[in-house]
Amino acid sequence: MENITKRFGNVVANDAVDFDASPGEIHCLLGENGAGKSTLMRILFGLCRADSGFIYVNGEPATISCPRDAIALGIGMVHQHFMLAERLTVAENIIAGSEPRRHGLLDYERARQKIAEVSQRYGLAVNPDAMVEEISVGQQQRVEILKALMRGARVLILDEPTAVLTPPEVDELFSVMRALRASGTTIIFITHKLKETMEISDRVTVLRDGRTVGVEKTSDATSDGLVEMMVGRSLPIHDDHRAPAQDIISLELKDVSVAGRKGSRARLSSVNLAVRRGEILGIAGVDGNGQLELEEVATGLRRPSQGKLIINGQDVTGFDTKRIRDKGVAYIPSDRLKRGMVSPFSLARNSVLGMQHSAHFSTRGVLQEDVVREHAESIVDLYDVRAESIDQPIGSLSGGNQQKLVVGRELTRPHSVVIAAQPTRGLDVGATHYIREQILASRNRGKAVLLISAELDEILELSDRIAVIYEGQIIDVRRAGQYTERELGLLMTGQRNGV
């Protein structure tokens, strides 16, 4: 791809971008959210057209105006959001659009055989007769890859494929990618995760603000060098003026259980946790092992079926969210869009969510608009929220800026306990870095922080102590330095014996 330029209104998504990938190469396309990675690949796959520039496939100039052209040229794309029909079987999904026929009828047997053949060749095990709605996300992704391969893809674009996968699934995906590379397939891997880039790719192209800022062989690149290229500056974590952890427990869960639906196992069983002033307790675990329940119990959104919740020495079990939060709980929820904000509300209105009834922001039931606006302005300034105005709906901001407002709102309210659940999920490197620094700063001011995260790096980087959650149980708690990464990985998947 040469000199590709694409504008959306006044925004230049791609500004004279050059990009090339060779056969049998895993080429990583790295950049922050909004750097123009997806736009570039959408142009290659014919989902949108470049304003100017040229595309060559196997040395020949190519015109790609729709995905059908791209497929004909041997280009396949697996989107971040899968495009599968849930109520059809795996095989039916794979052949849809290119059904093998015999006497004008669908030749289902031949289709199954072909699928079995291709899936065996690359280690892409799937059951062709399973319904798509019944298989895991990782398997659905395989179906998408198979679909592209069955249509003769020699260039495979994977758009943030690891975002939806668990760590073991990521390993499996990587071995499939290696098998594909060995057979001469070109893989373009879109990501903003450095670790994965270093692990899997042969070459890496870094985009920033719609421009190519570097193309390097992965073996010549360093993580720090790539971060600098992505963000435009280096990002050392500042962690000064640390107050020592005190032996005062601010948040405690005693023997907390949450029953599952009838017949299924408990979501949480007999969880005991204590978070002290001035420390970060990290909860490590693969998503879906009770983290959501833990977060909701600790903030009163869900009542435990058994056990006690104690905040600053007071038993608050069964209190509603308002009363618990008024005890001094700042809460960064894992699902920002569902819980953390009201999308159509302005930044100003969102900046007081959870404090709308406090005496500071309302008198006799009337919101004090001046005070609210002043508060919003100060969060926007202090927490580096990039917005045109505090009157615009928060839903119109990027995910990183939305999250900065949520974090700012929570850390500026009076609190002694911070519950931070997946605080950097889906955010780019710059915003992630910023928010992690804020969480450390909060700890350093003597707050008790419960950090729930599925990102192992985040847990290791921030926590003073780490607890591992698996199938609703806390199976180990230690000081952060007392685990190796491997041990944690094994514990997270429930393997206690290997440790």
């Binding site: 995905p67 509603d320 969210t321 008024d326 699902d335 869009l337 709308q356 839903g395 999920r425 889906g426």
Partner: protein
């Protein structure tokens, strides 16, 4: 993948978003929709063998031509002002109150009966008590679906529809059994002068009700925009999960929003009983509660817009009557034009509401 389909749906989504933009363009769009409805109405009138010119001359004169016509338009608009506001307010909390019709009936009966029992009080108090009784009865009928929704998850559309039957039959039963005016007709006793809403223009039936309606719009607009209650009600309407996170008592706000909506619909009945009919007559409403839904949908997100929307429907009603009277054109043709207005204005608005909801849920799934 079908790209062309994808593209066209994006295009139509954009055009719908344009239509759903607040403010002036929205107003312009409504105006265009009204003109379009009148245009198609003209074709229908012509095809039915009537003179279009005569029909629309009478329609216009009947709605706006002179004090009496304007007064009739205002009289016809008054109950719609309340019912439209009631439905629009419930929308703010994400609730679809289809029960304004029933709430109007119980409000009307309460307002037709309570002042009679307070004969000894000065008129101001009698009228005030009558209005409060109407609002209270409506609020009580709003409480039931609000409670059922908040505590049991029963959908308010179903419960309010069913309560409409309860309300119409209950009021009819009460009139026949307890409050019947001696005479040949099932109705309550005529309200004496001191128990009526005063006329604003003598000789017309324009009563204080219309002023109360406008004040109610202004008051609830302030509640929504400035108060903590309004903040919380809107938060529940736009994202109940986030409201819960923000310490909002979602059940309580749901019940309160439904009660306020019911109270306003009850006042529609009060304004009719105390300002126009001066008594309660079973089955008196030609569907004010349901037309209120159309008014609210046309008004959209803005409570202020309820006022012009109610006036539009009032004008079509009063103009339609004079069209029937002077040009001999059946009222049904005018009802058809009203239907077309609803179709052109409301259907895209409904569609855009659905699309917004869908795209926001997609976004939620994508970023989670």
């Amino acid at each position: 993948m079908d790209l062309s389909g994808d593209r066209s749906s994006k295009l139509s989504k954009r055009s719908i978003e344009w239509l759903a933009r607040p403010g002036f363009s929205r107003f312009m769009y409504s105006a265009v929709a009204v003109l379009l409805a009148l245009l198609i109405g003209a074709i229908l009138i012509g095809a039915s063998g009537y003179s279009v010119k005569e029909a629309y001359y009478n329609l216009f004169m009947g709605a706006f031509g002179g004090v009496y016509s304007l007064a009739t338009t205002v009289v016809m608009s008054t109950p719609l002002l309340f019912t439209g506001l009631a439905v629009a307010f419930a929308f703010q909390c994400g609730l679809f109150n289809v029960g304004a019709e029933g709430q109007l009936y119980v409000g009307a009966l309460a307002s037709a009966v309570v002042p009679l029992a307070l004969g000894g009080l000065p008129p101001v108090l009698r009228v005030t008590m009558g209005l409060l009784a109407g609002a209270g009865a409506g609020a009580a009928f709003g409480f039931v679906p609000g409670y059922l929704k908040a505590k049991l998850g029963a959908h308010e559309v179903i419960t309010t529809i069913m309560l409409n039957y309860v309300a119409t039959f209950l009021t009819t039963f009460l009139v026949k059994t307890y409050f019947r005016d001696p005479g040949p007709v099932d109705q309550t006793v005529l309200l004496p002068l001191g128990s009526r809403l005063p006329e604003l223009i003598s000789g017309t039936r324009v009563s204080l009700g219309v002023i109360i309606g406008v004040l109610a719009v202004a008051l609830l607009n302030q509640v929504i925009r400035r108060s903590v209650l309004g903040y919380e009600i809107q938060a529940v309407g736009k994202n109940p999960h986030a409201a819960e996170y923000g310490g909002v008592n979602v059940s309580a706000r749901t019940i309160q929003a439904m009660m306020i909506s019911g109270a306003v619909a009850g006042l529609a009945g009060s304004a009719e009983a105390m300002g126009t009919l001066y008594r309660f007559i079973p089955y008196f409403s030609p569907g004010y509660g349901f037309t209120g839904i159309a008014v609210a949908v046309i008004a959209g997100e803005s409570l202020w817009a309820v006022i012009p929307a109610a006036l539009l429907f009032g004008a079509l009603q009063s103009g339609g009557q004079s069209m029937q009277l002077f040009a001999g054109i059946p009222m049904e043709l005018m009802t058809m034009v009203q239907g077309l207005v609803i179709l052109f204005v409301a259907a895209p608005a409904l569609a855009s509401m659905l699309i917004k909801r869908k795209s926001s849920s997609e976004e939620g799934g994508g970023r989670a």
